[in-house]
């Protein structure tokens, strides 16, 4: 029987350009050692990544968005 090797098992659709940009900015922020919520929100507002309505990030909008983006898929 052929062996099964699937590199991507955590999602079932390609990533979007928005997710790509979000992930890049978040990794850069974390990489600078900023790991606290207020710090992350402030740093994200220094970037070009914005919620769908274009507003500044708040702790509330950020946690809501990251919960949506990080939802379990199956």
């Amino acid at each position: 029987m052929p062996l099964n090797l699937e590199p991507v098992q955590s999602r079932f659709r390609p990533t979007t350009s928005y997710e790509e940009a979000f992930a890049d900015e978040l990794e850069a922020i974390y990489g600078r050692g900023v790991h606290d919520l207020p710090g992350v929100v402030a740093a994200l507002n220094e970037t070009g990544v914005r919620p769908a309505d274009g507003a500044e990030w708040t702790e509330e909008s950020f946690t809501r968005e990251i919960a949506r983006l990080g939802a379990r898929e199956d």
Partner: protein
């Protein structure tokens, strides 16, 4: 069942009995389908009944041994496609359409393995005595939910599961084979190891470094499920939440191939958990995959007789111990099987 399951070598290379084995990811068994897989020396049929409960049975019709996986899924029963014999999820013959009322009807004639689903995978109990009750399925804490979150990475490799066990109990390869990875780039290239006993196995650990690279692994055998737990630090880019833990289970497909289950776990909650999940889906899964591919390339290329000519040193004492434990259990089971078999034959 293959004959080799009667021998010490067979039990060692296919997996000892009286254990739970992870079989495949839950999503591999879709509603309404009959799924055939080979695991731990058994030819298996997996299917879900109308309420979604998964059944694991021998892929062998009790009438004349046709493959049930070529049959028909009928909701809460399956029907063999050769002469239409119908079986339920307990392995009982529900109907023999060609000869109604025949003695086969109502008999539990199909070997049925106790099955459970947990953490995105299907597990089954492979009892030495097929009628005995299974031990409870106790899974390691990091895949028990609660404060932990996990992603399952499932792979099939073209080598014996024993080479994967060796690989998991060999933390030192992290600093060499994975030196250019996202997680194992730092730390010392030499170490002294020690073994520490636990209630369910043992920990193999560096005496002079922890939390820097792949610095320890733990063999866990609860009497029901064998697994390896280890942890590896994440770089700062992975965000808050500390290191990740791997819970690994390996299951022979046959003597030369195996299925590997790597649950990548993190003890993290709230937005930090969501952030990890997001980065896992978009960045980390691919990097973890590259690391695992380095392991696969090494393991699949190993000579078949690797164990025959080795020169082991201090970093290999966990392998030596584990191989000895597994062989002792295989030997014990082969002996008790040999004792039981004449008694069974006489009873027939």
């Amino acid at each position: 069942m293959t004959n080799s399951l009667h021998t010490e070598d067979g039990l060692l290379t296919l997996g000892v009995r009286d254990r739970w084995y992870a079989l495949c990811p839950s999503r591999q068994v879709r509603p309404g389908e009959l799924t055939r897989i080979d695991r731990a020396g058994e030819e298996l049929l997996l299917w879900r009944d109308s309420s979604g409960v998964v059944h694991v049975q021998e892929d062998r019709c009790p009438h004349r041994a046709a493959r049930l996986s070529l049959g028909v899924h009928m909701g809460d029963r399956i029907a063999c496609n050769y002469h239409g014999v119908q079986l339920d999820g307990d392995g009982v013959v529900a109907s023999v359409p060609g000869s109604p009322g025949c003695a086969l009807e109502g008999r539990k004639a199909l070997r049925t393995f106790p099955a459970r689903e947990h953490a995105g995978a299907i597990f089954a109990w492979f009892g030495a005595d097929e009628d005995a009750e299974p031990a409870p399925l106790r899974v390691p804490e990091p895949i028990s939910g609660g404060d932990w979150d996990d992603f399952l990475c499932y792979v099939e490799w073209d080598c014996s599961y024993l080479l994967s066990v060796d690989n998991l109990m060999d933390p030192m390869h992290g600093a060499f084979l994975h030196r250019n990875s996202h997680t194992m780039f730092s730390g010392k290239r030499e170490a002294v190891f020690q073994i520490r006993d636990t209630d369910t196995g043992f920990v193999f650990e560096k005496t002079d470094q922890r939390g820097v690279n792949f610095d320890w692994s733990e063999w866990v055998d609860t009497g029901g499920l064998q697994s390896v737990t280890l942890d590896i630090p994440y770089p700062a880019t992975a965000g808050p939440g500390g290191p990740f833990t791997i819970v690994a289970c390996v299951t022979a497909i046959n003597e030369h191939q195996h299925a590997g289950f790597f649950w990548r776990c993190r003890k993290v909650r709230g937005w930090e958990r969501d952030s990890w999940r997001f980065l896992y889906k978009n960045r980390l899964e691919a990097r973890h995959w590259q690391v695992l591919e380095q392991d696969r390339a090494m393991a699949e290329a190993m000579p078949a007789d690797a164990w025959a000519r080795e020169n082991l040193y201090q970093h290999d004492i966990a392998l030596v111990r584990l191989r000895r434990m597994l062989r002792a259990e295989a030997k014990r089971q082969a002996a008790s099987r040999a004792e039981r078999r004449p008694a069974r034959a006489a009873a027939r």
